[in-house]
């Protein structure tokens, strides 16, 4: 018997123009959805800015206490830029707080997703890119403009860094979406995703580089972490690219590593989604 679901059933002839139109329409919808939460956006940007001050002062005190010109490759201006762009980037990649899919699985609404003619992963991804675009305009800019008013700031010295940072940020958004999708998709099997969600929240904060630059850790921890887990590629990589802790060659390698992780994780999302659809029991009556 043939299974016909949104992801299993495939069109015989690809219609690229229509696919692109659908994808951009979904992106636009994601952008509009988040642009309606205006007050929450203001509150979020304010909170990111306060945490920018807190983290920046602590890291600058670390630099002062170390008594050397740089700590783990960062001078004070690089540390400050790392913190302030990090606070802006936090809402763009959206490490935390996305439970849309898990909620829909629990309530059974997910069945409506499966009836739609667009693959589930693609659809959520398009919406998430729209969300990230909105966040880049409203959540990235306030802390990035506030930081330089009170702290030293590092401007990239090489022109190539700027496009590389943009590419790295886009890859981080794609990758973070994939990771969040996988965490949410555990709900297909567990229904209650609290456990995986807590693990993700704790792990991603500290191991992606939000609490401190990962290079503060010894090499035998950082190198395997970077190569074998997607976490540093979510957050640390775009920031390290921006503040030029590495020469151009190494920057390119880090971004290439991100790209590999994006492919791996998105493929995994696809596989997990297929497997889930084959065993899905819809909740509710």
């Amino acid at each position: 018997m043939d299974l016909v679901t949104a992801t299993v059933h495939r069109r015989r002839y690809a219609n690229v123009a229509a696919d692109i139109r659908t994808f951009s329409a979904l992106m636009g919808a994601g952008f509009r959805r988040y642009s309606t939460y205006r007050q929450a956006t203001v509150a979020g940007a304010f909170t990111n800015t306060v945490f920018g001050f807190l983290r920046c002062y602590v890291l600058l005190a670390v630099a002062a206490g170390a008594g050397t010109a740089t700590v783990a490759g960062y001078d004070p201006a690089r540390l400050a830029t790392f913190v302030w762009f990090g606070q802006g980037l936090l809402a763009v990649v959206l490490l935390w707080g996305w439970t849309d899919l898990a909620d829909r699985i629990r309530t059974g609404d997910v069945v409506a997703d499966l009836l739609r003619p667009v693959d589930s992963v693609t659809r959520y991804l398009a919406t998430d890119l729209g969300r990230a675009g909105h966040a880049a305009l409203t959540r990235l800019i306030p802390p990035v403009l506030t930081g330089p008013l009170f702290f030293p700031f590092y401007l990239p010295h090489r022109w190539s860094t700027v496009p590389l940072f943009v590419v790295s940020t886009v890859l981080a958004v794609l990758l973070c979406f994939g990771c969040r999708y996988l965490v949410n998709a555990t709900g297909y099997w567990l229904l209650d995703v609290r456990g995986p969600m807590v693990l993700w929240t704790l792990g991603s904060g500290v191991l992606a580089g939000l609490y401190f630059p990962l290079r503060f850790l010894p090499d035998w921890v950082v190198v395997p972490l970077w190569l074998l887990t997607p976490l540093p590629s979510l957050f640390q990589t775009p920031l390290d690219v921006l503040v030029e802790v590495d020469p151009t060659g190494r920057q390119l390698w880090l971004v290439a590593l991100q790209a590999v992780w994006v492919v791996v994780i998105l493929l995994l999302c696809r596989l997990v989604q297929r497997a889930a659809e084959r065993r899905l029991v819809v909740q509710g009556g």
């Binding site: 206490g65 170390a66 609290r194």
Partner: protein, 269 residues
């Protein structure tokens, strides 16, 4: 308010919560374990930072851990007891706060007891353990007065954090969509007080440390316990009276809460 009938009702609320939360044993167990995580990471971060520096704001690792431990202990306990008042936004937005108001019990204790997160007991226990170990590891010249301060300071800090939770939650009465706004002061306050305030400077330090009173939560009591002078220049007795900051904080929280409840108008649907 504290007549025996009301006390019995509160006790019944608490017992009901305990029963319902522990009925899913595995879930409760996972929550107990995972809740230690956040506080453990805060402490871990301090160790990582001291991996690249030998002093932070004039304190060495052992001394800084007294500050971090005091905050970890007090914040985790305050968060367990009062932290879920954050959910007030939900009650106000949906109008469910009406149901709380019509019952013949205080609104604040009801909300606190209605979803008291017992699984956060583990985090409070872990925070207290960090504080005790930090006290033992730091080179403290113990006197009876210091023993008393070591006990009173975290208790006062619990009250202070509780007051911060109540004030930031009350914002929801005026600004329903305040979202993450309160986090800047609750979790922000935790982060601020986890480090010696000598690492901060300028108007930001003045605002958080003295304007909002966070300096007196763990930094000044820790200095008094360690017997160290304040590099910022406040006299030595400040650390001994610092726990008193909990009193004005509580008074302010009570005032803001009452104004908020009075300001509350239902959703009208």
């Amino acid at each position: 308010m504290a007549e025996p009938g009301a006390l019995r009702a509160y006790w019944a609320l608490l017992r009901g919560q305990a029963r319902s939360q522990t009925s899913y044993r595995l879930s409760f167990g996972i929550d107990l374990v995972s809740n230690v995580g956040a506080t453990a990471l805060d402490v871990f971060t301090v160790f990582v930072l001291f991996g690249v520096t030998s002093e932070l704001g004039g304190l060495d690792l052992r001394e800084a851990l007294v500050v971090t431990g005091l905050t970890a202990c007090a914040f985790a306990t305050g968060d367990m007891l009062v932290g879920n008042i954050e959910r007030i936004t939900l009650y106000v937005r949906t109008g469910r706060f009406d149901a709380v108001l019509v019952r013949p019990l205080g609104a604040l204790p009801q909300l606190v007891l209605l979803d008291l997160p017992l699984h956060k007991l583990s985090r409070a226990g872990f925070g207290t353990a960090v504080y005790v170990v930090a006290l033992a590891a730091a080179d403290i010249a113990w006197t009876p007065a210091r023993v008393l301060l070591a006990i009173v300071a975290p208790a006062a800090a619990v009250v202070f954090f509780g007051a911060v939770f109540v004030v930031t939650a009350s914002v929801a009465f005026w600004w329903t969509e305040s979202g993450e706004f309160g986090n800047a002061f609750t979790y922000g306050g935790r982060d601020f007080t986890s480090y010696p305030i000598s690492v901060y400077s300028g108007w930001f330090r003045n605002a958080f440390a003295y304007g909002l009173g966070f300096a007196f939560v763990s930094y000044y009591p820790a200095l008094a316990l360690l017997g160290r002078p304040d590099p910022i220049g406040l006299p030595g007795w400040v650390g001994w009276v610092a726990p008193l900051v909990a009193l004005p904080a509580t008074a302010l929280a009570a005032l803001v809460w009452r104004l908020g409840v009075r300001h509350y108008t239902s959703t009208g649907s």
